[in-house]
């Protein structure tokens, strides 16, 4: 069970037998992972009603930071749609940053900058230098105890009145035996690696923590927006989401095998093939929940 202690700073994953290393669960150098993240980013931006549904006109925002920007999809789109903004993206993976930089150059977006930086460490920016910080799906990079530190770091980087938006997802729900088997397996591996807030492999346990993380970090006017993508057979999202998740099965396999030795490469491939078959069945139903929580750094009391 998770500790009852309300102070997340003192949450100790090792007390629950978790590992302590912190690599990303998928090799970020793989071209397929970059492509997958780009497609996934577009799907989720659409599902979220645009780049910033909380403030669609970006009013009052001049400088934007995208944490864990990956291949730069969200940051580049913001820069394209709002040429008057300055958009900065950071990611721990140098190849992602190089790619995002070259995309900005190819797309002639001089209002962007991408920089290698680890979101679990202090970020190389001055205090109060951003009006908006966006972070989407950091859960593959973060451990529970690292979240409060990140929120605190965002507080430092935001100007008074600045907005922090965190978006995270829980595992997808389906009526497919293979998909459910894989979800439990992945969650088990993440649990063993100390990457979930959940006491068991039922879920990631991050979405319901977001409000609390923001509130404990001193952010005000915290708002939550819940989303769900229906990717059942026959829906517009079916192909895109299935493609995204099926690719991720193969890419995350080394991480899963590392923690669950019975899940060999062959065993993972076998379940992936069954997932692919079951997703093609007309009766396949799937839903993916995610949630955005945003809060403002107050004008006073910084």
């Amino acid at each position: 069970m998770m500790k009852q202690d309300d102070d997340l700073e003192h949450y100790d994953p090792e007390a629950y037998g978790y590992a302590t290393e912190n690599p990303y669960v998928i090799d970020p150098d793989l071209l397929e992972e970059m492509h997958r993240l780009d497609l996934q980013g577009r799907l989720f931006t659409r599902a979220m009603g645009g780049l910033l549904a909380e403030r669609p006109d970006f009013s009052g925002i001049h400088r934007v930071l995208d944490l864990g920007c990956g291949p730069g999809e969200w940051a580049l789109e913001v820069a394209r749609e709002h040429p008057d903004l300055e958009v900065v993206g950071v990611d721990k993976a140098p190849r992602m940053i190089e790619f995002a930089t070259v995309r900005a150059l190819a797309d002639r977006l001089p209002n962007t900058a991408f920089q290698v930086a680890d979101v679990t460490a202090p970020l190389p920016f001055a205090d109060q230098s951003f009006d908006l910080i966006n972070a989407r799906f950091l859960q593959g990079l973060m451990r529970p105890q690292e979240w409060p530190r990140l929120v605190k770091e965002c507080w430092r980087l935001l100007r008074p009145g600045g907005l922090l938006r965190l978006t995270e997802a829980e595992p997808w729900l389906t009526n497919s035996a293979a998909w459910e088997q894989w979800t439990r397996t992945l969650m088990r591996a993440l649990l063993l690696d100390g990457r979930t807030f959940s006491p068991d492999e039922a879920h990631w346990g991050v979405v319901f923590m977001l409000r609390r993380l923001l509130a404990e970090g001193g952010f005000q006017q915290v708002q939550e927006r819940a989303y769900a993508i229906n990717f059942s057979f026959g829906t517009p999202a079916h192909e895109g989401i299935c493609q995204d998740l099926l690719i991720s099965v193969r890419l995350v396999q080394p991480f899963v095998t590392q923690h669950l030795s019975e899940w060999t490469k062959e065993a993972v491939e076998e379940v992936r093939e069954r997932m692919e078959q079951e997703a093609r069945a007309p009766g396949f139903c799937g839903l993916w929940f995610f949630l955005s929580a945003s809060g403002e750094r107050p004008q006073q009391g910084a």
Partner: protein, 288 residues
């Protein structure tokens, strides 16, 4: 080109040249379980998947180079060696050595546009082969290719209702001027004359190019009318109108081609080429 490979198959696998297709079929046969689909079908599925990834990743680097950006940032030999090294199986992500590059060039496996600049589609084929063959660090390429074998192939059609003929992308000038050419390889649009559909589903062009910038094909009003009699209402004697009508026709005529490029269509194609299908499963390492 491997003599066993039906030339009609080749455009489906662009930008892979024939010997690479044959070689990857053999590699897939050896690595996959017996219950799997035929190696050609398996290869086609993989090509479809990774082709999009290769284009996605290469495009910004190529665009930077095409628009005069520095070789240190854009597509270059160094970029290719680094990228290929990072995608190799195993933990070693070191760039491919210059010696290996020299060997590939000497064996015709990588073509160059000019000094320091590999041919875009030839480099894409190498990357594609690398992503498809995850099994081993080496042997993902055939032993060699002759200059004739190095080309990738596209679909062509000389006139409405005429048979669809595979053709070497580097030799389109040999075709009648208003032959419609199309390919699922979007990187074709990096070459002069090719344009991409806005939905990024295929690249297309007329066979004969007058100049690349501004884009102008060798078109005649009579040829266009053969493709679409509806053009008769346009002032085709005006060169600008003629070119605009040519572009419009390209896009309109390309629409029915889209469905011909998916996996189901490929399986149907294979069913009507059963002898070739069995040959495809019998390649040995030397392509005999």
């Amino acid at each position: 080109m491997s003599p066993e490979l039906d030339p009609d198959l080749l455009p489906w696998f662009a930008p892979l040249p024939g010997p690479m297709i044959a070689h990857l079929c053999v590699r897939l046969l050896r690595s996959r379980r017996a219950k799997e689909t035929t190696s050609l079908q398996r290869l086609f599925a993989l090509v479809q998947k990774y082709r999009a990834t290769i284009y996605f990743y290469m495009d910004p680097y190529v665009q930077v180079r095409l628009h005069g950006g520095p070789a240190t940032v854009g597509f270059s030999t160094g970029w290719l060696l680094k990228t290929l090294g990072a995608q190799a199986p195993g933990a070693n992500k070191e760039p491919i050595s210059a010696r290996t590059l020299w060997y590939w060039r000497s064996k015709g496996l990588l073509r160059y546009q000019r000094y320091g600049l590999p041919d875009f589609s030839s480099a894409a084929a190498l990357l594609l082969a690398r992503l498809i063959d995850h099994v081993a660090e080496r042997n993902f390429l055939p032993t060699s290719m002759t200059p004739e074998e190095q080309d990738w192939w596209c679909f062509t059609q000389a006139a409405p209702g005429a048979p669809v003929v595979p053709w070497r992308a580097a030799h389109l000038e040999e075709l009648p001027a208003t032959t419609l050419c199309w390919t699922p390889w979007l990187g074709a649009a990096w070459e002069p004359g090719w344009i991409m559909r806005r939905d990024q589903t295929l690249a297309l062009r007329w066979a004969k190019l007058v100049k690349a910038t501004p884009l102008a094909y060798r078109l005649s009003p009579q040829d266009l009318l053969r493709w679409d009699a509806g053009c008769a209402s346009l002032e085709l004697h005006d060169p600008d109108v003629l070119q605009a009508a040519g572009l419009l026709l390209l896009h309109r005529r390309a629409l029915p081609r889209l469905s011909s490029l998916d996996e189901r269509a490929f399986e149907t194609f294979l069913q009507f080429h059963e002898p070739d299908r069995s040959q495809g499963a019998d390649y040995d390492e030397t392509g005999r």
